[in-house]
Protein backbone atom coordinates (compact mmCIF):
# COMPACT_ATOMS: atom_id res chain seq x y z
CA UNK A 1 0.00 0.00 0.00
CA UNK A 2 1.41 3.38 -1.02
CA UNK A 3 1.81 6.17 1.55
CA UNK A 4 1.03 9.56 0.13
CA UNK A 5 1.86 12.99 1.42
CA UNK A 6 -1.48 14.76 1.98
CA UNK A 7 -1.96 18.44 1.26
CA UNK A 8 -4.68 21.05 1.67
CA UNK A 9 -5.45 22.85 -1.58
CA UNK A 10 -8.66 24.71 -0.82
CA UNK A 11 -10.66 26.08 2.08
CA UNK A 12 -14.17 27.41 2.57
CA UNK A 13 -16.08 28.74 5.54
CA UNK A 14 -19.49 29.91 6.61
CA UNK A 15 -18.91 31.31 10.06
CA UNK A 16 -20.92 33.39 12.51
CA UNK A 17 -19.28 36.37 10.77
CA UNK A 18 -20.90 35.39 7.46
CA UNK A 19 -19.95 33.71 4.21
CA UNK A 20 -16.33 33.24 3.24
CA UNK A 21 -13.09 32.11 4.81
CA UNK A 22 -11.52 35.54 4.25
CA UNK A 23 -14.38 37.21 6.10
CA UNK A 24 -13.97 34.88 9.06
CA UNK A 25 -10.22 35.43 9.23
CA UNK A 26 -10.49 39.20 8.92
CA UNK A 27 -12.95 39.32 11.80
CA UNK A 28 -10.81 37.00 13.92
CA UNK A 29 -7.80 39.26 13.31
CA UNK A 30 -9.85 42.29 14.33
CA UNK A 31 -10.71 40.52 17.58
CA UNK A 32 -14.43 40.71 16.79
CA UNK A 33 -17.06 38.61 18.52
CA UNK A 34 -20.19 37.22 16.83
CA UNK A 35 -22.18 36.30 19.94
CA UNK A 36 -25.66 37.84 20.27
CA UNK A 37 -28.66 37.55 22.56
CA UNK A 38 -31.24 35.27 20.93
CA UNK A 39 -33.87 35.22 23.67
CA UNK A 40 -36.65 36.66 21.50
CA UNK A 41 -36.20 33.74 19.05
CA UNK A 42 -35.31 30.93 21.42
CA UNK A 43 -37.98 31.46 24.06
CA UNK A 44 -40.64 30.55 21.50
CA UNK A 45 -39.14 27.05 21.57
CA UNK A 46 -37.88 26.71 25.16
CA UNK A 47 -38.96 29.09 27.91
CA UNK A 48 -36.63 28.13 30.73
CA UNK A 49 -33.16 28.24 29.22
CA UNK A 50 -30.43 29.70 31.39
CA UNK A 51 -28.30 30.68 28.41
CA UNK A 52 -29.83 33.08 25.89
CA UNK A 53 -26.74 33.79 23.81
CA UNK A 54 -25.52 32.15 20.63
CA UNK A 55 -23.47 32.79 17.53
CA UNK A 56 -25.67 32.31 14.46
CA UNK A 57 -24.41 32.93 10.94
CA UNK A 58 -24.94 36.67 10.63
CA UNK A 59 -25.62 36.70 6.91
CA UNK A 60 -28.68 35.33 5.12
CA UNK A 61 -28.03 32.36 2.84
CA UNK A 62 -29.31 32.59 -0.70
CA UNK A 63 -30.61 29.03 -0.94
CA UNK A 64 -32.35 29.86 -4.23
CA UNK A 65 -28.94 29.70 -5.88
CA UNK A 66 -29.31 25.93 -5.53
CA UNK A 67 -31.58 24.28 -8.11
CA UNK A 68 -34.84 23.06 -6.60
CA UNK A 69 -34.15 19.41 -7.40
CA UNK A 70 -31.31 19.55 -4.86
CA UNK A 71 -32.74 22.23 -2.57
CA UNK A 72 -35.91 20.22 -1.78
CA UNK A 73 -33.73 17.61 -0.07
CA UNK A 74 -31.72 20.08 2.01
CA UNK A 75 -32.30 21.66 5.39
CA UNK A 76 -30.21 24.41 6.95
CA UNK A 77 -27.43 21.95 7.88
CA UNK A 78 -26.92 20.99 4.23
CA UNK A 79 -27.32 24.58 3.02
CA UNK A 80 -24.54 25.80 5.31
CA UNK A 81 -22.30 22.94 4.19
CA UNK A 82 -23.01 23.64 0.52
CA UNK A 83 -21.78 27.23 0.67
CA UNK A 84 -18.58 26.23 2.49
CA UNK A 85 -17.88 23.35 0.09
CA UNK A 86 -18.57 25.42 -3.01
CA UNK A 87 -16.10 28.04 -1.82
CA UNK A 88 -13.45 25.41 -1.05
CA UNK A 89 -13.85 23.71 -4.44
CA UNK A 90 -13.51 27.06 -6.19
CA UNK A 91 -10.55 27.95 -4.00
CA UNK A 92 -8.86 24.65 -4.89
CA UNK A 93 -9.84 25.04 -8.57
CA UNK A 94 -11.19 21.51 -8.72
CA UNK A 95 -12.57 20.83 -12.21
CA UNK A 96 -16.14 19.50 -12.38
CA UNK A 97 -15.19 16.37 -14.29
CA UNK A 98 -12.74 15.33 -11.56
CA UNK A 99 -15.56 15.32 -8.97
CA UNK A 100 -17.35 12.49 -10.76
CA UNK A 101 -14.23 10.54 -11.69
CA UNK A 102 -14.53 8.19 -8.72
CA UNK A 103 -11.23 9.55 -7.37
CA UNK A 104 -12.90 12.19 -5.20
CA UNK A 105 -14.86 11.49 -2.03
CA UNK A 106 -16.58 13.30 0.80
CA UNK A 107 -15.95 13.04 4.53
CA UNK A 108 -18.24 15.53 6.20
CA UNK A 109 -19.88 15.41 9.61
CA UNK A 110 -22.26 17.22 11.92
CA UNK A 111 -23.77 16.60 15.33
CA UNK A 112 -27.16 15.84 13.79
CA UNK A 113 -29.17 16.47 10.66
CA UNK A 114 -31.18 19.66 10.39
CA UNK A 115 -32.87 20.43 13.70
CA UNK A 116 -35.18 22.93 12.05
CA UNK A 117 -36.44 20.22 9.67
CA UNK A 118 -36.57 17.72 12.52
CA UNK A 119 -38.77 20.16 14.43
CA UNK A 120 -41.13 20.49 11.45
CA UNK A 121 -41.26 16.71 11.15
CA UNK A 122 -42.24 16.06 14.76
CA UNK A 123 -44.47 19.11 15.12
CA UNK A 124 -46.63 17.87 12.23
CA UNK A 125 -46.86 14.37 13.64
CA UNK A 126 -47.56 15.55 17.19
CA UNK A 127 -50.17 18.02 15.92
CA UNK A 128 -52.06 15.63 13.64
CA UNK A 129 -50.95 12.16 14.66
CA UNK A 130 -50.44 11.61 10.92
CA UNK A 131 -47.49 11.62 8.54
CA UNK A 132 -49.40 12.00 5.30
CA UNK A 133 -48.82 15.72 4.79
CA UNK A 134 -45.08 15.61 5.38
CA UNK A 135 -42.87 16.48 2.45
CA UNK A 136 -40.98 13.60 0.86
CA UNK A 137 -37.76 15.62 1.16
CA UNK A 138 -37.82 16.02 4.92
CA UNK A 139 -36.07 12.77 5.78
CA UNK A 140 -33.12 13.76 3.60
CA UNK A 141 -32.85 17.02 5.54
CA UNK A 142 -32.96 15.24 8.88
CA UNK A 143 -30.77 12.18 8.35
CA UNK A 144 -27.46 12.23 10.16
CA UNK A 145 -25.39 12.21 6.96
CA UNK A 146 -27.46 14.91 5.29
CA UNK A 147 -24.44 17.18 4.72
CA UNK A 148 -22.18 14.53 3.18
CA UNK A 149 -24.95 13.01 1.06
CA UNK A 150 -26.24 16.33 -0.25
CA UNK A 151 -22.70 17.51 -1.06
CA UNK A 152 -22.10 14.34 -3.05
CA UNK A 153 -25.48 14.71 -4.77
CA UNK A 154 -25.07 18.35 -5.79
CA UNK A 155 -21.45 18.15 -6.90
CA UNK A 156 -21.79 14.71 -8.52
CA UNK A 157 -19.18 13.06 -6.33
CA UNK A 158 -18.91 9.34 -6.99
CA UNK A 159 -16.08 8.25 -4.69
CA UNK A 160 -16.50 7.18 -1.06
CA UNK A 161 -18.92 9.31 0.96
CA UNK A 162 -18.72 9.06 4.74
CA UNK A 163 -20.13 11.11 7.57
CA UNK A 164 -18.23 10.76 10.83
CA UNK A 165 -20.68 12.24 13.29
CA UNK A 166 -19.06 12.81 16.65
CA UNK A 167 -20.71 15.96 18.00
CA UNK A 168 -18.07 18.65 18.54
CA UNK A 169 -15.30 16.49 17.07
CA UNK A 170 -17.26 15.76 13.86
CA UNK A 171 -15.30 18.12 11.63
CA UNK A 172 -11.81 17.22 12.81
CA UNK A 173 -12.65 13.54 12.78
CA UNK A 174 -14.01 13.91 9.23
CA UNK A 175 -10.84 15.67 8.12
CA UNK A 176 -8.73 13.02 9.84
CA UNK A 177 -10.64 10.20 8.16
CA UNK A 178 -10.23 11.90 4.78
CA UNK A 179 -6.54 12.38 5.49
CA UNK A 180 -6.11 8.68 6.22
CA UNK A 181 -7.94 7.64 3.04
CA UNK A 182 -5.65 9.82 0.93
CA UNK A 183 -2.51 8.96 2.90
CA UNK A 184 -3.03 5.25 2.41
CA UNK A 185 -3.77 5.62 -1.29
CA UNK A 186 -7.45 4.69 -1.21
CA UNK A 187 -8.52 7.84 -3.05
CA UNK A 188 -6.89 10.94 -4.57
CA UNK A 189 -8.97 13.72 -3.09
CA UNK A 190 -11.46 14.21 -0.25
CA UNK A 191 -13.87 17.05 0.42
CA UNK A 192 -13.69 17.26 4.20
CA UNK A 193 -15.20 19.27 7.01
CA UNK A 194 -18.12 19.73 9.29
CA UNK A 195 -21.24 21.77 9.84
CA UNK A 196 -23.61 22.77 12.62
CA UNK A 197 -26.97 24.49 12.45
CA UNK A 198 -27.84 26.61 15.47
CA UNK A 199 -31.27 26.14 16.99
CA UNK A 200 -32.70 26.75 20.45
CA UNK A 201 -32.71 22.98 20.88
CA UNK A 202 -28.95 22.84 20.21
CA UNK A 203 -28.22 25.16 23.08
CA UNK A 204 -30.82 23.32 25.16
CA UNK A 205 -28.72 20.16 25.05
CA UNK A 206 -25.81 22.02 26.62
CA UNK A 207 -28.07 23.92 29.03
CA UNK A 208 -29.40 20.64 30.43
CA UNK A 209 -25.91 19.44 31.33
CA UNK A 210 -24.97 22.90 32.68
CA UNK A 211 -22.40 23.43 29.98
CA UNK A 212 -23.59 26.83 28.74
CA UNK A 213 -22.56 30.34 29.66
CA UNK A 214 -25.34 31.92 31.74
CA UNK A 215 -23.91 35.09 33.27
CA UNK A 216 -23.38 37.08 30.09
CA UNK A 217 -26.87 37.15 28.56
CA UNK A 218 -26.84 40.96 28.67
CA UNK A 219 -23.14 41.20 27.70
CA UNK A 220 -22.92 38.64 24.89
CA UNK A 221 -19.66 39.95 23.46
CA UNK A 222 -17.87 39.05 26.69
CA UNK A 223 -18.55 35.33 26.37
CA UNK A 224 -17.39 32.60 25.93
CA UNK A 225 -14.13 33.11 27.83
CA UNK A 226 -11.72 30.26 27.07
CA UNK A 227 -9.10 29.64 29.78
CA UNK A 228 -10.31 32.70 31.74
CA UNK A 229 -10.97 32.33 35.45
CA UNK A 230 -14.43 33.90 34.96
CA UNK A 231 -15.51 31.55 32.19
CA UNK A 232 -18.89 30.04 32.89
CA UNK A 233 -19.59 27.73 30.00
CA UNK A 234 -19.76 27.59 26.25
CA UNK A 235 -21.87 29.47 23.73
CA UNK A 236 -23.25 27.46 20.82
CA UNK A 237 -22.49 28.75 17.37
CA UNK A 238 -23.28 27.91 13.80
CA UNK A 239 -21.32 27.42 10.62
CA UNK A 240 -19.66 25.11 8.17
CA UNK A 241 -16.04 24.63 7.26
CA UNK A 242 -14.49 22.77 4.38
CA UNK A 243 -11.00 21.73 3.34
CA UNK A 244 -10.10 20.10 0.06
CA UNK A 245 -7.36 17.62 0.75
CA UNK A 246 -5.53 15.52 -1.80
CA UNK A 247 -2.37 13.60 -2.38
CA UNK A 248 0.69 15.66 -3.17
CA UNK A 249 0.85 13.86 -6.53
CA UNK A 250 -2.76 14.83 -7.34
CA UNK A 251 -2.11 18.47 -6.40
CA UNK A 252 1.04 18.61 -8.51
CA UNK A 253 -0.69 16.91 -11.43
CA UNK A 254 -3.37 19.61 -11.46
CA UNK A 255 -0.98 22.43 -10.69
CA UNK A 256 -2.95 23.25 -7.54
CA UNK A 257 -1.71 25.76 -5.00
CA UNK A 258 -0.80 23.96 -1.79
CA UNK A 259 -1.84 25.77 1.39
CA UNK A 260 -0.41 23.33 3.95
CA UNK A 261 0.35 19.67 4.50
CA UNK A 262 -1.52 17.42 6.93
CA UNK A 263 1.12 15.34 8.69
CA UNK A 264 -0.63 13.53 11.51
CA UNK A 265 -3.93 12.67 13.14
CA UNK A 266 -5.40 10.60 15.89
CA UNK A 267 -8.80 10.06 17.38
CA UNK A 268 -9.48 8.00 20.47
CA UNK A 269 -11.94 7.72 23.30
CA UNK A 270 -11.57 8.34 26.99
CA UNK A 271 -13.61 5.31 27.97
CA UNK A 272 -14.42 7.27 31.10
CA UNK A 273 -17.46 9.48 30.88
CA UNK A 274 -20.04 10.57 28.33
CA UNK A 275 -19.89 14.30 29.04
CA UNK A 276 -16.73 14.98 31.06
CA UNK A 277 -13.45 15.64 29.34
CA UNK A 278 -10.49 13.68 30.61
CA UNK A 279 -6.96 15.10 30.73
CA UNK A 280 -5.16 11.78 30.55
CA UNK A 281 -6.99 10.61 27.42
CA UNK A 282 -6.61 14.05 25.77
CA UNK A 283 -2.86 13.81 26.35
CA UNK A 284 -2.84 10.27 24.98
CA UNK A 285 -4.59 11.43 21.80
CA UNK A 286 -2.24 14.39 21.28
CA UNK A 287 0.82 12.18 21.85
CA UNK A 288 -0.45 9.65 19.37
CA UNK A 289 -1.08 12.38 16.76
CA UNK A 290 2.49 13.66 17.30
CA UNK A 291 3.84 10.14 16.79
CA UNK A 292 1.70 9.73 13.69
CA UNK A 293 3.14 13.01 12.36
CA UNK A 294 6.63 11.96 13.37
CA UNK A 295 7.28 15.25 15.16
CA UNK A 296 8.39 16.06 18.70
CA UNK A 297 6.46 18.39 21.00
CA UNK A 298 9.23 20.97 20.57
CA UNK A 299 8.61 20.96 16.79
CA UNK A 300 5.09 22.34 17.27
CA UNK A 301 4.90 26.12 16.89
CA UNK A 302 1.30 26.69 17.93
CA UNK A 303 -1.68 24.80 19.35
CA UNK A 304 -5.16 25.84 18.27
CA UNK A 305 -7.02 24.55 21.32
CA UNK A 306 -10.52 23.14 21.56
CA UNK A 307 -11.08 25.30 24.69
CA UNK A 308 -14.82 25.93 24.67
CA UNK A 309 -14.82 27.82 27.99
CA UNK A 310 -16.42 25.15 30.10
CA UNK A 311 -14.90 25.00 33.56
CA UNK A 312 -13.73 21.40 33.40
CA UNK A 313 -13.05 21.10 29.67
CA UNK A 314 -10.55 23.97 29.52
CA UNK A 315 -8.86 22.79 32.68
CA UNK A 316 -8.38 19.26 31.36
CA UNK A 317 -7.09 20.45 28.00
CA UNK A 318 -4.70 22.89 29.74
CA UNK A 319 -3.41 20.08 31.95
CA UNK A 320 -2.85 17.81 28.96
CA UNK A 321 -1.09 20.53 26.94
CA UNK A 322 1.07 21.49 29.92
CA UNK A 323 2.04 17.87 30.46
CA UNK A 324 3.20 17.35 26.88
CA UNK A 325 4.35 20.79 25.79
CA UNK A 326 4.89 22.57 29.12
CA UNK A 327 8.65 22.91 29.08
CA UNK A 328 8.64 24.20 25.49
CA UNK A 329 6.10 26.93 26.17
CA UNK A 330 4.30 26.39 22.87
CA UNK A 331 1.87 29.27 22.13
CA UNK A 332 -1.80 28.34 22.61
CA UNK A 333 -5.04 30.09 21.72
CA UNK A 334 -8.72 29.32 21.13
CA UNK A 335 -11.12 30.83 18.58
CA UNK A 336 -14.23 30.20 20.70
CA UNK A 337 -14.15 33.68 22.27
CA UNK A 338 -14.75 35.11 18.77
CA UNK A 339 -17.21 32.69 17.14
CA UNK A 340 -18.54 30.65 20.05
CA UNK A 341 -18.50 26.90 19.86
CA UNK A 342 -19.60 25.95 16.36
CA UNK A 343 -19.78 22.31 17.51
CA UNK A 344 -19.71 19.99 14.48
CA UNK A 345 -18.16 22.76 12.38
CA UNK A 346 -15.58 23.95 14.89
CA UNK A 347 -12.67 21.70 13.93
CA UNK A 348 -12.97 22.70 10.27
CA UNK A 349 -13.48 26.43 10.84
CA UNK A 350 -10.59 26.60 13.29
CA UNK A 351 -8.32 24.56 11.04
CA UNK A 352 -9.16 26.92 8.17
CA UNK A 353 -8.21 29.84 10.44
CA UNK A 354 -5.00 27.97 11.35
CA UNK A 355 -3.98 27.67 7.68
CA UNK A 356 -4.42 31.45 7.35
CA UNK A 357 -2.34 32.02 10.49
CA UNK A 358 0.39 29.80 9.02
CA UNK A 359 0.26 31.76 5.76
CA UNK A 360 0.47 35.13 7.51
CA UNK A 361 2.88 33.98 10.22
CA UNK A 362 0.81 35.30 13.07
CA UNK A 363 -1.21 33.88 15.95
CA UNK A 364 -4.69 35.17 16.72
CA UNK A 365 -5.06 35.48 20.50
CA UNK A 366 -7.95 34.15 22.58
CA UNK A 367 -10.68 36.76 22.85
CA UNK A 368 -12.23 37.41 26.27
CA UNK A 369 -9.20 35.98 28.05
CA UNK A 370 -8.28 38.51 30.71
CA UNK A 371 -7.19 36.49 33.71
CA UNK A 372 -5.98 32.98 32.96
CA UNK A 373 -7.21 30.50 35.52
CA UNK A 374 -4.83 28.46 37.60
CA UNK A 375 -4.57 25.44 35.30
CA UNK A 376 -4.05 27.64 32.25
CA UNK A 377 -1.26 29.65 33.85
CA UNK A 378 1.15 26.88 32.93
CA UNK A 379 0.44 27.56 29.25
CA UNK A 380 1.93 30.13 26.91
CA UNK A 381 -1.41 31.80 26.19
CA UNK A 382 -1.21 34.30 23.37
CA UNK A 383 -2.64 37.66 24.43
CA UNK A 384 -2.00 39.86 21.36
CA UNK A 385 -1.95 39.28 17.63
CA UNK A 386 1.51 37.85 17.57
CA UNK A 387 3.89 37.57 14.57
CA UNK A 388 5.29 34.04 14.77
CA UNK A 389 6.89 31.75 12.22
CA UNK A 390 4.47 28.85 12.10
CA UNK A 391 5.76 25.67 10.53
CA UNK A 392 3.79 23.11 12.54
CA UNK A 393 0.34 23.62 14.08
CA UNK A 394 -1.68 21.23 16.20
CA UNK A 395 -5.49 21.46 16.18
CA UNK A 396 -7.55 19.83 18.92
CA UNK A 397 -11.25 18.97 19.04
CA UNK A 398 -13.04 17.02 21.75
CA UNK A 399 -16.62 15.86 22.02
CA UNK A 400 -19.37 14.40 24.13
CA UNK A 401 -18.99 10.67 24.13
CA UNK A 402 -15.43 11.00 25.38
CA UNK A 403 -14.20 11.46 21.80
CA UNK A 404 -10.82 13.16 21.37
CA UNK A 405 -9.17 14.24 18.13
CA UNK A 406 -5.89 15.97 17.31
CA UNK A 407 -4.51 16.83 13.88
CA UNK A 408 -1.25 18.41 12.77
CA UNK A 409 -0.51 20.55 9.74
CA UNK A 410 2.87 21.70 8.48
CA UNK A 411 4.01 24.44 6.13
CA UNK A 412 4.38 22.70 2.80
CA UNK A 413 7.85 22.12 1.44
CA UNK A 414 8.24 19.96 -1.67
Amino acid sequence: MSMNRVVITGVGAVSPFGLGADKMYENLCKDNNAVVNLRSIWEKHVSDLECWVGAPVAEPLNEKEIPRKYRKLMGRTAFLAFFAVREALENARVPEELLSSGNVGVSYGSSTGSIDSMTDFFMEIFRTNECHQLSSGIFFQVMSHTAAANIAHIFGVTGRVVSPNAACASALQSIGVGYEYVKYGMIDMMICGGVEELHAYTSTSFDIVQGTSTKFNERPQQTPRPFDRDRDGTVCGEGAGCLIIESEASAKRRGAKILAEIIGFDTSASGEHMSHSHAESIARCMRSALRNANVKPSDVDYINAHATATVLGDMHEAEAIAEIFGEHKIPVSSMKGHIGHTLGASGALELVASTYMMRDEQIIPTRNLENPDEAAQALNLVSDLKPTKLDVIMKNSFAFGGINTALLIRRYKS
Binding site: R68, K69, S136
Partner: protein, 84 residues
Protein backbone atom coordinates in the same frame (compact mmCIF):
# COMPACT_ATOMS: atom_id res chain seq x y z
CA UNK B 1 -65.23 20.73 -12.69
CA UNK B 2 -63.92 21.26 -16.23
CA UNK B 3 -60.58 20.09 -17.58
CA UNK B 4 -59.52 23.76 -17.83
CA UNK B 5 -60.33 24.41 -14.18
CA UNK B 6 -58.40 21.33 -13.12
CA UNK B 7 -55.45 22.30 -15.35
CA UNK B 8 -55.45 25.75 -13.74
CA UNK B 9 -55.19 24.22 -10.26
CA UNK B 10 -52.44 21.81 -11.32
CA UNK B 11 -50.56 24.65 -13.02
CA UNK B 12 -50.69 26.78 -9.88
CA UNK B 13 -49.15 23.94 -7.84
CA UNK B 14 -46.46 23.19 -10.42
CA UNK B 15 -45.50 26.86 -10.69
CA UNK B 16 -45.68 27.79 -7.00
CA UNK B 17 -44.42 24.62 -5.37
CA UNK B 18 -42.25 22.99 -8.00
CA UNK B 19 -40.89 26.15 -9.62
CA UNK B 20 -41.78 24.96 -13.12
CA UNK B 21 -42.07 27.59 -15.86
CA UNK B 22 -45.75 28.12 -16.66
CA UNK B 23 -45.22 28.19 -20.43
CA UNK B 24 -44.13 24.55 -20.56
CA UNK B 25 -47.18 23.29 -18.68
CA UNK B 26 -49.90 21.85 -20.93
CA UNK B 27 -52.01 18.68 -20.96
CA UNK B 28 -49.54 16.80 -23.18
CA UNK B 29 -46.47 17.73 -21.13
CA UNK B 30 -44.72 14.64 -19.77
CA UNK B 31 -44.13 14.70 -16.04
CA UNK B 32 -40.71 13.09 -15.80
CA UNK B 33 -39.11 14.17 -19.07
CA UNK B 34 -40.46 17.59 -19.98
CA UNK B 35 -41.33 18.85 -16.51
CA UNK B 36 -38.32 17.07 -14.95
CA UNK B 37 -40.19 15.83 -11.91
CA UNK B 38 -38.89 12.78 -10.06
CA UNK B 39 -40.52 10.07 -8.00
CA UNK B 40 -40.22 12.11 -4.78
CA UNK B 41 -41.92 15.05 -6.49
CA UNK B 42 -44.65 12.61 -7.51
CA UNK B 43 -45.31 11.76 -3.85
CA UNK B 44 -45.52 15.45 -2.88
CA UNK B 45 -47.61 16.34 -5.92
CA UNK B 46 -50.27 13.79 -5.01
CA UNK B 47 -50.61 15.24 -1.48
CA UNK B 48 -50.90 18.75 -2.90
CA UNK B 49 -53.52 17.64 -5.42
CA UNK B 50 -55.52 15.99 -2.62
CA UNK B 51 -55.51 19.28 -0.72
CA UNK B 52 -56.27 21.40 -3.78
CA UNK B 53 -59.13 19.26 -5.13
CA UNK B 54 -60.35 17.81 -1.86
CA UNK B 55 -60.06 14.09 -2.46
CA UNK B 56 -58.20 11.27 -0.79
CA UNK B 57 -55.98 8.75 -2.49
CA UNK B 58 -56.50 5.12 -1.55
CA UNK B 59 -52.98 3.80 -1.73
CA UNK B 60 -53.96 0.21 -2.42
CA UNK B 61 -56.65 0.98 -4.96
CA UNK B 62 -55.00 3.93 -6.75
CA UNK B 63 -51.36 2.85 -6.73
CA UNK B 64 -51.47 1.24 -10.18
CA UNK B 65 -53.15 4.25 -11.79
CA UNK B 66 -50.76 6.71 -10.17
CA UNK B 67 -47.75 4.71 -11.25
CA UNK B 68 -48.91 4.79 -14.86
CA UNK B 69 -49.50 8.55 -15.01
CA UNK B 70 -47.11 10.09 -17.52
CA UNK B 71 -48.68 13.39 -18.60
CA UNK B 72 -50.67 16.26 -17.14
CA UNK B 73 -53.73 14.90 -18.97
CA UNK B 74 -53.37 11.63 -17.03
CA UNK B 75 -53.47 13.67 -13.81
CA UNK B 76 -56.54 15.55 -14.99
CA UNK B 77 -58.32 12.25 -15.75
CA UNK B 78 -57.33 10.83 -12.36
CA UNK B 79 -58.64 13.89 -10.51
CA UNK B 80 -61.91 13.82 -12.45
CA UNK B 81 -62.37 10.19 -11.48
CA UNK B 82 -61.59 10.88 -7.80
CA UNK B 83 -63.92 13.87 -7.44
CA UNK B 84 -66.74 12.44 -9.50
Amino acid sequence: MSDEQILKGITRILVDEFEIEEDIINPEATLYDELELDSLDGVDLIVMLENEFNFKVDRKQDEGTIRQMRTIQHIIEFIKQKIA
